[in-house]
Amino acid sequence: MTGLFYALLSLGGFALLAGVVLAIAQQVFHVEGDPMVDKVDNLLPQTQCGQCGYPGCKPYATAVAALEAEVNHCVPGGERTMLAIADLMGVEPKAVEQEAAAPMLAFVREDECIGCTLCIKACPVDAIIGAPKQYHTILADHCTGCELCVEPCPVDCIDMLVKPELIEHWSWPLPKTRRSQLGHERREHHAGHA
């Protein structure tokens, strides 16, 4: 009987001690918020387009960091962003549902614009300038191509144009050898395509 008593007492006492130490450690190493949100947010293209089903990049990052959302919902980011997020979160990559289209720019046909300011209100990055009853125009350097301004326009005067390719931004393609393609297939395999 004393054996059992000793056993319970020592085990319980030891567990209590460990609990107290851990409780103190919890205070010392308390983590404020989820530091992963910012890290995921940093990987997103910040188009604020809402194609992921969340109202913007930050909310999607929050959902991903909380493991509530899959890593493959960012359409403009494409495969590269998906891989980066999967890598950061330590989860299996998943195929991107929708191929990322070529980068686009919104363009206002100014002679048709009636100056209603609805697109200005819709633009998530303040890239449209104009005033009521004045022509609006879109700053090409700041447009993320999110298409959020197309829908509200009452006269449909906003076009989505393909972003012009600049020679300064040209970069070398992969060499066209069989082995280089092998390497790329491997990458796609990792991305869950194969």
Partner: protein, 193 residues
């Protein structure tokens, strides 16, 4: 002095926990994808293993043996290890969220890691003293870290090498681990006494 060197050498190379005793295979395969992760895991395991062997020796000598409670060894040791793992988990979460994320489930799983429990139990079995058990725990952890980091380096290289489709992924990983194990077994007979 010779004894200390021998214990360390034995734990790190000759009786390597992972490749000779085949303990702790799970994190060895699970966290060796990237060198950074492997280094983080190695330090976590080093911390837990060394302290676990010290604490378990103390508990064994001053609680279990005097009270005749040797049959509670396993549960006591797991309690110690679990507390240590909880502690390091909080620490890593605070200091390096990315490593925390990368280690994922393998960090709490150190609790049930056979290498950590194994080192505590072996210490008792081999009737080590306080110093030698601490050394043995540390040596075993260094051995674990050594093979884990080596292996992650190999895996990083394999990741970018063209490999026949048949061997992609796990098969090649396991074959490589087997070959590393063969190489480490070559250390037996390293020291003649």
């Amino acid at each position: 002095m010779t004894e200390i060197a021998l214990i360390l050498l034995s734990a790190v190379l000759v009786n390597n926990f992972v490749l000779t005793k085949f303990l702790g295979i799970c994190p060895f395969l699970g966290t060796s994808g990237k060198v950074e992760t492997a280094v983080g895991m190695s330090f976590a395991v080093m911390f837990v293993m060394t302290l676990a062997s010290v604490c378990s020796w103390l508990v064994q000598q001053f609680i279990l043996v005097p009270l005749g409670l040797e049959y509670l060894q396993t549960i006591f040791f797991i309690l110690i290890i679990a507390a240590l793992v909880q502690f390091i988990e909080m620490m890593i979460h605070k200091t390096s969220p990315v490593l925390y994320q990368a280690l994922g489930i393998f960090l709490p799983l150190i609790t049930t890691n056979c290498a950590v429990l194994g080192v505590a139990l072996l210490n008792v079995q081999q009737e080590q003293t306080f110093v030698t058990s601490a050394l043995y725990g540390f040596g075993a952890a260094v051995g674990f870290a050594l093979v884990l980091i080596l292996f992650s380096g190999l895996r990083e290289r394999m990741e970018v090498s063209p490999v026949p489709a048949l061997f992609k992924g796990s098969p090649l990983t396991l074959i490589t681990a087997g070959m590393m194990s063969l190489a480490f077994m070559g250390f037996s007979g390293l020291v003649k006494i």
